[in-house]
Symmetry: D2
């Protein structure tokens, strides 16, 4: 088998470098020869939904499981917007920055705002509304897309979420939360939101499995039957309805029937916190507050160069002649020993600089 140079180093580039939590693989194996109905009507999917309904405390919610985040985003947005309607997002939002125009490909503009640490504020929403008054020569803002945790590792507080919810209602905007890393947000030590809070204050969100222990899978939650009406058609039409829906059901059942989903996110956060504290202790800053499993420390360029000999991670942003921000991501599968080694190396390099 071909050896990839990049893999000789320990990988902090993302949270999808490994497979799935072993319990998921075990359950896939255990259920393998059961005959199940296709297209999400299998018993595991039904059971996983049941578990999730209980956690959400919203009897009107409607649930669907899909394969990935870009898919979830384009399905939800294209399902809910009419052709002249647009979605508001941070410039750093995944739908704008990382999805190859997937939303525009379904016919809708993504209106961008600059964001504060990757988050949208009510003021920014109001500015968009004000700038889109010259009907019918402008698109009609109809949805606000936010990510929690964000693409910059930050999280929304309960009061921030409620204030967004209020301004969205006021201006007829649906509030959609990309939860590709929702587990990490909810398990952050800075977090004051519960899953039920989110279910109460946003119109649609999803619970990301791909980046938190599943082989693949995101659980989409619609607040009401009205919003979800005919979503089964949309799934099929966009090629998102798996024949063997069981593989999504089995995974979410495993992750959610006990607290595995939250334990895995907590582990990723804990490892990130260890790294963040090590970095802070050396006196370095962060581009955005280190709240979850994504860190954006600002480090000396020669230190970064040294670290890149042993670890894989992204250089995120040029800061000045001497410093760059990098992105470090931990996950449910990150190795404690490797994290220890990284912290050790970082301290050593910092000490050497003094």
């Amino acid at each position: 088998m071909r050896i990839n140079k990049a893999l000789e180093m320990y990988n902090f580039k993302n949270d999808y470098a490994e497979g799935a939590h072993p319990k998921i693989l075990e359950r896939l194996a255990a259920s393998n020869f059961d005959q199940e109905l296709g297209y999400g009507d299998d018993r595991y999917t039904l059971a996983a939904k049941q578990v999730l309904y209980e956690r959400l405390q919203n009897p009107k919610a409607v649930l669907y499981f899909v394969s990935g985040g870009t898919q979830a985003n384009l399905l939800v947005i294209s399902h809910l917007l009419r052709p002249h309607e647009a979605v508001i997002s941070c410039k750093t939002g995944h739908i704008y920055a990382n999805e190859t125009g997937a939303i525009e490909a379904t016919g809708h503009r993504v209106i961008t705002v600059d964001g504060v640490d990757g988050k949208v504020t009510p003021t920014l929403v109001k500015e968009v509304i004000d700038a889109h008054q010259l009907r019918p020569h402008v698109v009609k803002p109809r949805m606000l897309y936010i990510s929690n945790s964000t693409e910059l590792g930050t999280i929304y507080t309960k009061s921030e979420l409620i204030s967004l919810s209020i301004i969205c209602k006021k201006h007829g905007l649906l509030l959609f939360m990309d939860g590709a890393r929702l587990g990490h947000a909810l398990m952050s030590s800075s977090n004051d939101l519960s899953l039920a809070d989110i279910a109460a204050h946003v119109d649609i969100f999803y619970i990301g499995g791909t980046k938190n222990g599943a082989l693949l899978g995101e659980a989409i939650v619609f607040k009401s039957k009205e919003l979800a009406a005919d979503f089964d058609y949309t799934l099929k039409q966009k090629g998102a309805l798996l024949a063997k829906g069981r593989i999504l059901g089995i995974q979410f059942l495993t992750l959610l029937e006990e607290d595995l989903y939250f334990e895995l996110a907590a582990k990723a956060n804990t490892l990130a916190t260890q790294i963040a504290q090590t970095i802070a202790a050396q006196g370095y800053q962060f581009l955005t507050p280190p709240n979850t499993n994504q860190l954006f420390p600002i480090l000396p360029k020669n230190m970064i160069k040294d670290l890149l000999n042993s670890y894989a991670f992204y250089i995120w942003k040029e800061i000045d002649d001497d410093f760059q921000a990098i992105r470090i991501i931990t996950s449910w599968a990150s190795d404690q020993q490797e994290v220890d080694r990284f912290c050790h190396d970082l301290k050593r390099l910092a000490d050497a600089k003094q």
Copy 2:
């Protein structure tokens, strides 16, 4: 866990009722904690492509792995057609009959022809070309979509495929073969096509994993770099690029590095042949020739009613007051004992009628 009534009977409704071949699950487990690059750049995907390149005997081919058949169809067709161009398909073709307008949703008309046993003929293609001359008031036919095996269980012979290839070239049509059940076609006792033949005579095709032993996955083969140019963008834009591409690579590597893929299809065909011969021996007819793992026998309605007490399958078509055509599908996972029992029951019911 909820008990589904339908599952008390043995399921001949489709070839995706079970999970994956155990070797696939084993390999997923064995590789689980390897850190791999995302989005299809992992070592398993690269190895699986290498294996497939060798089988195809076309050094210019370009390969991609995706999740499912509808996804593969819409990706390929929307990637290759300009907005005013259309694809020709049988009315029974999956893209017309079973995909919720997925192709039209990408902006393209599916021009239908009636087909012969689910197959397109050169004459039908020529009729479409002739009917689309009043430029620019009509769409421009630009692709022919065929399935092998077809949605009616039939297969294309080598001479049929070549004659389609010739008329396509003559009229500037790309030839695209949906191979969701390509294994079953190639392993049919009536088949005279090789994988290399197909690679030589069609412009794009795919090798279906979902219906032949994989959890999910189809391997798309483009004949040339020109046809495949920028397909990576298309994959991402349509939400089809899995973060953990490794799960597709691992599966196709397992299926194709030895002959597992073909052995599984052969098993499904063998079980179907046993059923077909049993039915024929009782003097019953078939709607279409029983070539692969999908059978469409025409049986007395009261026999069907009895069978439905023990087995799940679809009633396909009303034939007359006394007879209906049903659809029976076997798979790599079908149980030999259940097939024996079905044949035994069928004979018993047939005898009772005499």
Copy 3:
């Protein structure tokens, strides 16, 4: 100026060979230097709408003027259907046969039925509904598109329209009437529908100007504010909102404030009737009943060949070795003397054959 061979003959090919009724040109000139608001907020558009509201006898109707029939069709259909919804049409319907896949380009399947003399029947609608039950693997029929007069020159009776309206309501289908030649339908001697009847029984329709005396223009009528909601955005987004909307307003005001629109259609019908009666008197048949300004007589091939020396018209359909159906169209601008000459020539040729 280049001389076009086809134009040496008198043109019965279509009803848009000439410019506009002189009263329209006069009014364009008379209003030319008035400063008006753009985008349909001019005084002429407002006045034309007022006139039309009165004729429709539906105070809830909402009106828009657009440039042409294909544009009207794609605007209305894409505005009203959600992505997974489809429109039913005759195979001969303009949206299927003559518009380069304009509807599919907006993402929607056109489900075709064979039709009876270019008309859809309740039975055909029911068959489509029955064939689209396997949710979510099929598109969802949501609209019925009909033309009146049809592309084959035929018209809907009041009872036919009401029965379609009933089945549409029953199955949740919007009923949309393409009225590119609505004037000719309403002024047919076989017609028993009024403009108010149509406004009462269909959900959306339009009154065609392009083929009945205008330079360009179709008046779209929505039955309710709910259906029309945000249609201004759709107009602009699809490039259909003219900066100088006045040119549509002036034309419809001129056509509708008196009975000019109906007089022009009546004239076209009268000339067609003269031709139809001449043909019938010679014992020839018609492909469809000659109800309006489009005739489809079945004539001997050698007679057709002779007529083509002096007149331009389309050969529509091969009937047998000796006969073809042709299409003859008259218009508000057709010349009585040319019609007389055509009838005379036709009689002469018919006599010579005997």
Copy 4:
């Protein structure tokens, strides 16, 4: 007829408040009863194209006439881009600021840059290219859209255009010029570009009629047959192919066979220059250089308030507590006496302030 309050004032809001140049109306009347072929195959369209080919000095150019600017933009862009490709535009560009997401509705992202006086620079293009390297997670920039004159009344110099053309070629971008006000750009006293220069340095552009003397109409120029291939299909599919194409042909023939098009633009510019010089003489500044028929003077708010009693124009931008930028547009049809009166009033108000 309803009286519109806004119309009691003289209108400097736009350049489409009046109808068409009288010569156009005369020619429409003179040709009215000629029978012509439909869909742009009429003799007037052919003659107008012939005249334009000669002016362009590019024998490979391909021409089409369409109704309006938004339509031209969406037709060209959707025709030339593949689904994953995007177009770059100033934030003030018409396709981003004023067209209701028309481009996104065809599936393509509009990537915005801030622009300098409404113009794109090579540096801005390079920044976009650099920011779109993370293939395939980003869209692929494939076209640069510019307007000349711009939406802020400014124009491109020959050297600016050539430097854009060079960077576009280098990065595989098509260069598309929106010429809704091309006449005003070419007749600007600051202009050093000829029509042939533009034809030589851009890939696609159009010559705007709607805002320079026509009832409606833009003439699209493709640099080569390859770029224009199948554009007739695109026209029809998007509802842009007028049955009576003659009305576009007649207008462009009238505007271009002599120098009427350029004389009309020159008149609009001259009137604007008179206003600009009057404003400058009073010591007021402009938001952007006053090069063409669109002016953006920065005036005291109380002066603006007074002027709004007698003239209609847009308030464009808040500058500070005391000043606003307004937009004044003159046209081929603007009245010299009204311009004189406006200048007189402006001087009077300025004097009163001192």
